[in-house]
C-alpha cells in the first residue's frame, strides 16, 4: 500500500435554496483516499456532485462539513499544489500558448531561462510545437485543452484535477487526448483525479474507478482497474475491458434511472 497523498474526510456540500426554495444537498458526507501516483476517475450521472467534489479539493468551494487533507494539511483555499483543468476553455485569451503554459511559473518567480525550458518541454509533450506564439482563439478545442493540461502540469502540482476536460470534444479527438494524457501519466506518474461521465474513458485511464450515486452524491463503488500499462487504444476491445465496462454500465444505469426518477 503506497502512501496517502489526498484524504477526503466526510466532505459534504449543501447549497442554500435559490429564491426561498429548499436547499440542495449536492454531496452527502463522502470519504476517499488517494494514494500517490493513483489515477482515479470519478464516474457518475449528471448533477451528482462530481464538479462540486473536485472544486472543493481545488479549494474553489468550501465544504459544508468535513475536510480535505493534502499531505496531512487541511485545504483552506486554492493553490499551485493542485493543478486544475476545467471543462470549459479557460486559457487566458490575452496570452499566447507559451505564455499561458508559463503563467504559474511566472507567478512562482521561476527565472526566465528555466521557464522557457519547462515551457518548451511541455509544449513538446502535448504536441503543440509550432503553436507557441498563437493565441488561444486560433486553436481548436482539443488543442486548447492540451494547452490547459500543459499549463497545469508545468506548475508541477502534487495532484492534477481534471473536470471532464474532453467533454466537449468529438470521439476521435477524445480518444487521442486520452492516450496523450495516459502517456504523460505513465511517464511521469502524477497523481490524478479525473471526473467523467464516459464509462470507457473512466476505465481506460484509471487505476481506480470511483462511482458516484445520483444526487445527493456519495461514493457508491470503488473499483480497481488491473489492466496492464502501457495501455493502447486496442485495449478497449479486450474481454477484460468489456467485462469491467459491463459491470460499470450496470452500476451507472441504476443511478441514472434514479436521477431521472424512473424506478
Amino acid at each position: 500500500m503506497s502512501s496517502t497523498i489526498l484524504q477526503i474526510d466526510n466532505v459534504s456540500r449543501v447549497f442554500p435554496g435559490v429564491r426561498g426554495g429548499a436547499p440542495v444537498r449536492a454531496l452527502e458526507p463522502t470519504n476517499l483516499q488517494v494514494a500517490k501516483n493513483d489515477f482515479i476517475t470519478i464516474l457518475g450521472p449528471s448533477g451528482c456532485g462530481k464538479s462540486t467534489l473536485l472544486r472543493i479539493v481545488a479549494g474553489l468551494d468550501r465544504p459544508s462539513g468535513g475536510r480535505v487533507l493534502l499531505n496531512g494539511r487541511e485545504i483552506k483555499g486554492p493553490g499551485a499544489d493542485r493543478g486544475m483543468v476545467f471543462q470549459s476553455y479557460t486559457l487566458f485569451p490575452w496570452l499566447t500558448i507559451a505564455e499561458n503554459i508559463a503563467y504559474g511559473l511566472r507567478e512562482k518567480g521561476v527565472p526566465k531561462a528555466q521557464r522557457q525550458e519547462i515551457v518548451a518541454s511541455y509544449t513538446e509533450k502535448v504536441g503543440l510545437r509550432g503553436f507557441e506564439n498563437h493565441y488561444p482563439k486560433q486553436l481548436s478545442g482539443g488543442m486548447q485543452q492540451r494547452t490547459a493540461i500543459a499549463r497545469a502540469l508545468a506548475n508541477d502540482p502534487e495532484i492534477l484535477l481534471l473536470d471532464e476536460p474532453f467533454g466537449a470534444l468529438d470521439n476521435q479527438t477524445r480518444g487521442l487526448m486520452q492516450e496523450l494524457l495516459l502517456g504523460i501519466w505513465e511517464r511521469e506518474r502524477k497523481t490524478v483525479l479525473f471526473v467523467t461521465h464516459d464509462i470507457e474513458e473512466a476505465i481506460f485511464l484509471a487505476s481506480r474507478v470511483v462511482v458516484m450515486s445520483a444526487r445527493p452524491g456519495r461514493i457508491k463503488a470503488d473499483i480497481p482497474v488491473e489492466l496492464p500499462h502501457p495501455r493502447h487504444y486496442t485495449m478497449k476491445t479486450t474481454p477484460e475491458f468489456s467485462s469491467l465496462k459491463a459491470q460499470l454500465t450496470e452500476e451507472i444505469r441504476v443511478e441514472a434511472m434514479q436521477a431521472e426518477g424512473v424506478h
Partner: protein, 258 residues
C-alpha cells in the same frame, strides 16, 4: 441585396463611408446655394471654406485649435489617471464598490456644464477651470464604466489563475487588468468623445481663446461660415483621435482580433 451580419470588403466600406459625406455636403450646398435657406442663418459650403481659410491664415485659428486640444487632452488624462485605478479597485473589491458606487452614480448625473459658473468662482477663468470642467465631466463616467467591466470578468479565468498559484494581488494584476484592458481602452475612447462637448461649453463662457471662444465671437458677427467651420474642425479632430485610438488599440491588443 446584403444579408444580415454579412461583412463587407475594406474598399466598399471606405467608398460607402465617404459617399455619405459627399451626399451630406451636396444636400447642404443644394439648400444654401440654391437659395432655399437664408445666408444669415446658414452659410454655404464655399463661404464656409473661405471663412475657414481666412481664420487659419489671418486670425491665428490654429493656436485656438491647439489650446482646445490641450485642454481636452489635459483634463481627460487627469481624469483617466484617477478614474481607471479607482474603477479597477471598485470592480475587483466589492467592499470598495459598496462604499463608492452610490456616490459615483449620483455624481455621474451632475451636468459638467452646470459646474462652469461655480468653477469660475473657484478657479477663476484660467486654464485650471477649463481642465476641471473636462475632468468633472469625464472622471465619474470612466470610474463607473471601468468598474462594471472589471466586475464582469469571467469567473472561470479568475479561478484558473488561483489554481495556478496566483495571489489576490496577482489576480488583479495578471487577470483582471489584462482581461479588461481592451475594454478600458474602448471606454476611454468613448469618454474622450464626450469630453469634446464639455470643452466647448467651458470655452463659450469666460474664455479668450479656443474653438468655443471663436464660435461665440463669430456669433456676434453673424459669421455662420466661421461658426460652422469651427464645428466641423471639432468633428474632424474627433474623427482623427478616434481613428488613432482604434489603431493604437489594435496594435496593443492583437489577441482581441486573433
Amino acid at each position: 441585396m446584403p444579408r444580415p451580419l454579412e461583412p463587407v470588403s475594406q474598399s466598399t466600406r471606405i467608398t460607402l463611408g465617404i459617399s455619405f459625406f459627399v451626399l451630406f455636403v451636396a444636400a447642404w450646398a443644394f439648400a444654401t446655394l440654391g437659395g432655399f435657406v437664408s445666408r444669415t442663418f446658414l452659410a454655404d459650403p464655399i463661404t464656409m471654406v473661405q471663412d475657414g481659410w481666412l481664420l487659419l491664415t489671418r486670425f491665428g485659428f490654429l493656436s485656438d485649435i491647439g489650446v482646445t486640444v490641450w485642454r481636452v487632452v489635459g483634463g481627460f488624462i487627469l481624469a483617466a489617471i484617477i478614474a481607471v485605478p479607482l474603477g479597477i479597485l471598485m470592480g475587483a473589491y466589492k467592499t470598495f464598490e459598496a462604499f463608492l458606487e452610490p456616490f459615483v452614480s449620483f455624481a455621474r448625473y451632475l451636468p459638467a456644464s452646470a459646474f462652469v459658473p461655480l468653477l469660475i468662482l473657484w478657479a477663476g477663468i484660467g486654464e485650471m477651470q477649463k481642465l476641471l470642467v473636462i475632468f468633472i465631466g469625464s472622471v465619474f463616467q470612466i470610474i463607473l464604466m471601468v468598474a462594471v467591466a472589471v466586475g464582469n470578468t469571467r469567473r472561470d479565468l479568475v479561478e484558473a489563475a488561483y489554481t495556478l498559484g496566483s495571489s489576490d494581488r496577482g489576480v488583479v494584476r495578471r487577470v483582471l487588468i489584462p482581461a479588461n484592458a481592451p475594454e478600458i481602452a474602448e471606454i476611454l475612447r468613448l469618454v474622450l468623445g464626450w469630453a469634446w462637448t464639455y470643452v466647448i461649453v467651458a470655452e463659450l463662457i469666460g474664455s479668450s481663446s479656443g474653438i468655443g471662444h471663436m464660435i461665440i465671437d463669430s456669433q456676434a458677427l453673424l459669421a455662420t461660415g466661421q461658426m460652422i467651420f469651427g464645428i466641423i474642425v471639432i468633428g474632424i479632430i474627433g474623427l482623427i483621435s478616434d481613428f488613432l485610438f482604434k489603431a493604437f488599440n489594435r496594435k496593443l491588443f492583437p489577441w482581441r482580433l486573433a
